[in-house]
């Protein structure tokens, strides 16, 4: 892939503007002012990122744009690639929807700060080409836990898991930086180094552990339902939707350890599949809506990793598309659940709340968002599931059937939650129960994205396909290198035996 220095320092400006806005927010104390400013700024940011991305793809997507404000173009700090070009506008849009749609009861200045910290984290993880920036991005993504925005109860298990993953990543990056004998932090330079056998393999293994921890994949999954139960469904959009773990795997693991990944990725896929099934099964029996949502997240986030572990183009592309679909759907579902809780309090799935007649828009939004996660035709989830299942069946045939089973179970859990909240005898309260204009606006945007790309998926699938192709080239090159090494070793052995 070609690299060129872009004409405008768009990425640097993006990072600096978000940082600047965060500085303002840390000084702001009024929540309404904070929300208004956040919404306006996020509209500007979303529009700017959409403009940037449109320009990027119009110029041709077989290039990477180096930000001109980087000190060195051979060791760039921020780079726009096809992968980050897709993620940036989605991240900005999701942040906008969360800032707009969060019910008043859950919104305070800490919450606004958390959303912007996570957006900055996503930008750095998607575009950072330097281990420092990547680690800072990763750490910023976890920082909201320290702010304790939203609910007063906090999840100790989530804090330990995520802070632990951040500390472990620092250790991994330290070993990684000292890989070539010196101290190198540029991803580009590190990618050019050859893998050094066992040492690099164990660094790759440690990186995979960080990915599992951060993504809430089995057996490091328990923090996810604990988080949603104690701190609320909105935290999904902060800590899980950005898929920090998956980004690390794609941007650091696969390019820097292609040979180790040949053996690790199948392992990742199998363990993630276990997580998919485990989350689906437990979501079926839990009685608390927040925990049910947490298990759904465990299951679907694991499914993204299953796809990333595939050894073919469909599976990998499906994972990237699923990333977007699940992110949009989970954000919407988190907002919908928060809206429901604002109106009726906590939800016991054994009972029927009867909200359907009073909140038809909320009801319809919940159903479509929930079923979109599990592949409702006409939504982006259907496209993603189609690709992931096909890909998994090509790579690991038995797994494909199990993915289908897990998705079916998740679909049932979603429907169970839907009928529990919106079915049953009506309990009139006299208060307006349906979505407010603000909440409705946020959900409408998310639904539009899901349905729009679900009906016209071609462009997104092609772009993600090209990203997947690049990763496949790395894999093919690693296989070829390994074959050469082995044939070289074989020749040596033959010579010695003669």
């Amino acid at each position: 892939m070609n690299q060129l220095v872009s004409e405008i320092p768009a990425l640097s400006l993006l990072v600096l503007s978000i940082t600047g806005f965060l500085v303002y927010l840390f000084r702001e104390t009024d929540r309404d002012r904070a929300r208004l400013a956040s919404v306006i700024f996020s509209v500007v940011l979303t529009s700017a990122s959409l403009g940037l991305v449109t320009w990027f793809f119009w110029r041709g997507d077989d290039v990477r744009w180096i930000d001109p404000w980087c000190p060195s173009t051979s060791r760039p700090w921020l780079v726009l690639s096809p992968l980050s070009a897709v993620l940036l506008p989605f991240s900005a849009l999701l942040s906008f929807c969360v800032l707009l749609g969060t019910p008043r009861r859950f919104f305070d200045v800490d919450w606004a700060r958390s959303v912007w910290l996570v957006l900055l984290s996503s930008v750095l993880l998607a575009t950072g080409e330097n281990l420092f920036l990547l680690w800072i991005g990763f750490a910023l993504g976890v920082a909201p836990l320290l702010l304790r925005g939203g609910e007063k109860k906090s999840s100790f298990v989530a804090r330990v898991s995520l802070l632990g993953s951040t500390a472990l990543l620092l250790l991994v990056f330290s070993f990684l930086a000292s890989r070539g004998g010196g101290f190198e932090t540029s991803l580009r330079a590190l990618a050019e180094l050859e893998e050094d056998g066992a040492r690099d393999f164990w660094i790759a293994v440690s990186l995979v552990v960080v990915v599992f921890l951060r993504s809430g994949v089995f057996p490091f999954h328990s923090w996810v339902p604990s988080l949603t139960e104690r701190q609320g469904s909105l935290w999904i959009s902060l800590l899980l939707v950005p898929q920090a773990g998956a980004l690390l795997l794609l941007r650091v693991g696969m390019p820097l350890f292609p040979e180790s990944m040949l053996s690790l990725l199948p392992f990742v896929a199998r363990v993630a599949l276990l997580g998919t099934l485990y989350g689906a099964l437990l979501g079926l029996v839990t009685r608390d809506l927040r925990r049910a949502l947490g298990w759904l997240v465990v299951s679907q986030a694991s499914l993204v990793l299953v796809g990333l572990g595939d050894t073919n183009l469909e599976g990998l592309t499906g994972a990237l598309v699923l990333w977007i679909a699940v992110g949009v759907s989970l954000t919407g579902l988190g907002l919908a659940v928060a809206s429901v809780e604002t109106r009726v309090g906590s939800i016991d799935l054994r009972k029927y709340m009867g909200l359907g007649a009073q909140a038809p828009l909320l009801s319809a939004s919940f159903l479509i968002l929930g079923l979109a996660i599990v592949g409702l035709p006409g939504t982006l989830g259907f496209i993603a599931e189609d690709l992931v299942v096909h890909g998994s069946l090509e790579s690991y045939p038995a797994m494909g059937i199990l993915i289908v089973l897990a998705t079916a179970v998740n679909g049932f859990s979603v429907f169970r939650a839907y009928v529990s909240i919106f079915g049953g005898p009506e309990q009139r309260s006299g208060l307006p129960m349906d979505l407010s204009r603000r909440e409705g606006g946020a959900l409408a945007i998310l639904l539009l994205v899901l349905l729009g790309f679900g009906i016209v998926p071609r462009g997104l699938v092609e772009i993600e396909g090209r990203v997947a192709e690049q990763r496949m080239h790395l894999r093919e090159k690693a296989i070829a290198d390994l074959a050469l090494e082995q044939s070289g070793a074989l020749d040596e052995a033959r010579l010695e035996s003669r």
């Binding site: 007063k152 109860k153 906090s154 999840s155 100790f156 298990v157 330990v160 328990s222 339902p225 604990s226 104690r230 485990y278 099964l281 437990l282 079926l284 029996v285 839990t286 009685r287 925990r291 183009l313 469909e314 029927y352 009867g354 007649a357 038809p360 828009l361 319809a364 079923l371 409702l376 035709p377 006409g378 259907f382 189609d386 690709l387 299942v389 096909h390 069946l393 090509e394 494909g400 059937i401 289908v404 089973l405 079916a408 179970v409 679909g411 049932f412 429907f415 169970r416 009928v419 919106f422 079915g423 049953g424 005898p425 009506e426 998926p457 071609r458 699938v461 092609e462 396909g465 192709e469």
Partner: protein, 464 residues
């Protein structure tokens, strides 16, 4: 832009018009003023009438041009290297009659419903869901690829379940909708797995190429060997769920909770035959699998017997019709297994029409009986001899008891198939809750409640 041919235009109209009508009704949910019943039913019947005329025009076109099939290709929905999702519609000797049946019955039910559901608060919602069903069923029937068929299949299931839960102020319809959804999802696993395997082994998903179909039902499938049996059995699994075949038929009487017109069109008329349609569409593949044919025959025969016996002891008119429909579809499966495809198609058409009428008339059957009774001075004679009278009394008694509990099929499935998984899941969830609650700091709170087994449906009835 390449101009579309006449059949292509008609196909586009047939597929798109119900979708547009559905979207219009959906959009009107957010309008400040609710549309009138006349408008809603007018949009629905208007759309279905237009589709009906288009279907008739297609039939005439077929006759005039003397063609067996028309493949309408609208490119690919998306493409990835060698993989592509084709947007292809197939109009042939199977899809055209089924399409005609679907449109006619749905249109008649829509017309009936405009009076039957007059002043019902869910009037608009009903017609929206009816159009969702019509759009999905048209997609399923006209699908030229197994991918597209799957998309239609899923949406038909969703429409069905939402209509079962139509009277969602009561708990029973919701529970029954949930149970139906669970069975649908389980059977959808079979269809999705079959979709993927067809892609893998045939390297295509279009029926024309995968089945080597020249004109239905003949064809030379690209798939050979063990995958033929496996895929055929997976398709059978999917068909069993949608067509309420034993042991997946427990949802059918529960589905009677929905409005009578939806019971008519779904479980008497069209949706219940979707499984049979799937098997007919896969005829060239099933022909190569004696295993699948034996399985289809066995399932169909068992269901026919089961539906007949259990239907005899039902005290509710709609339930009786439900089991009768189940039994008839079982016979259709037998016909398919024996290779009598045109007979099966004819059977579907006749059965769907008669059963739809019976369902629509079911609410007034008691009134009619009382009128007959009054006309005969209170004495209504026996309806006729039944074959059961040939059996000894003890055997009849045993069969009666067996039929009353529906053969214990549902409870057996719950006890032996579901209960172990649910029990394991509950144990794991209790463990997860306990250890995370133990570690989580924060405000003092009570220890988590254990997740207990849910009472069975019988226990819930006893409690209520």
């Amino acid at each position: 832009m390449i101009p579309l041919s006449f059949p292509e235009i008609l196909t586009l109209v047939i597929v798109v018009v119900p979708v547009l009508a559905m979207l219009l009704l959906g959009a009107l949910f957010v309008a400040p003023k609710r549309p009138s019943e006349r408008f809603v039913s007018g949009v629905t019947t208007g759309a279905l009438s237009l589709v009906f005329l288009s279907v008739l025009a297609l039939v005439v076109d077929f006759q005039l041009r003397d063609v067996d099939q028309v493949i309408v290709h609208f490119g690919s929905w998306f493409t990835l290297d060698d993989y592509h999702f084709p947007l292809e519609f197939l109009v042939d000797g199977l899809s055209l009659p089924f399409l005609l049946l679907t449109v006619v019955l749905t249109g008649l039910v829509a017309r009936f419903s405009s009076k039957y559901l007059h002043r019902d608060p869910g009037f608009q919602r009903f017609f929206f869901l009816l159009l969702l069903f019509a759009s999905s069923m048209i997609l399923l029937v006209l699908a030229g690829s197994i991918d597209l068929l799957f998309a239609g299949w899923e949406m038909v299931g969703l429409a069905s379940v939402l209509l079962i839960a139509f009277f969602d102020r009561r708990r029973e319809p919701i529970r029954n909708a949930l149970r139906t959804f669970a069975i649908y999802r389980w059977s959808d696993v079979g269809l999705l797995a079959a979709v993927v395997l067809v892609h893998h082994y045939a390297q295509t998903s279009t029926f024309g190429l995968a089945w080597g179909q020249e004109h239905w039902p003949s064809g030379r499938p690209r798939i050979e060997g063990a995958p033929v049996h496996f895929i055929s059995l997976l398709l059978l699994l999917a068909a069993m769920g949608k067509s309420a075949q034993v042991p997946f038929g427990g949802w059918l009487p529960r589905a009677m909770e929905g409005p009578t017109p939806s019971s008519a069109i779904f479980y008497g008329g069209i949706s219940i035959h979707a499984g049979a349609y799937l098997l007919l569409r896969a005829a060239p593949l099933i022909d190569r699998s004696p295993t699948a044919k034996i399985a289809i025959f066995t399932v169909g025969l068992l269901t026919a017997l089961y539906g007949t016996m259990v239907g005899r002891v039902q005290s509710d008119a709609k339930n009786q019709l439900a089991y009768a429909a189940m039994g008839q579809v079982g016979l259709i499966f037998v016909e398919i297994a024996l290779g009598l495809r045109f007979l099966a198609l004819l059977h579907i058409a006749g059965h769907a029409s008669v059963r739809t009428l019976q369902f629509l008339r079911a609410p007034s059957v008691l009134q009619e009986f009382h009128r007959i009774q009054a006309g005969k001075d209170g004495e209504v004679g026996a309806s006729g001899l039944h074959y059961e009278l040939l059996l000894p009394a003890r055997v009849r008694q045993a069969l009666y008891s067996w039929a009353l509990v529906r053969g214990g099929v549902e409870s057996a499935v719950e006890r032996y198939a579901l209960a172990p998984f649910m029990s394991a899941a509950r144990s794991l969830e209790n463990f997860e809750q306990r250890w995370t609650h133990h570690l989580d700091r924060g405000e003092a709170e009570e220890p988590p409640e254990r997740v207990l087994p849910q009472p069975s449906s019988l226990e819930r009835k006893v409690e209520s």
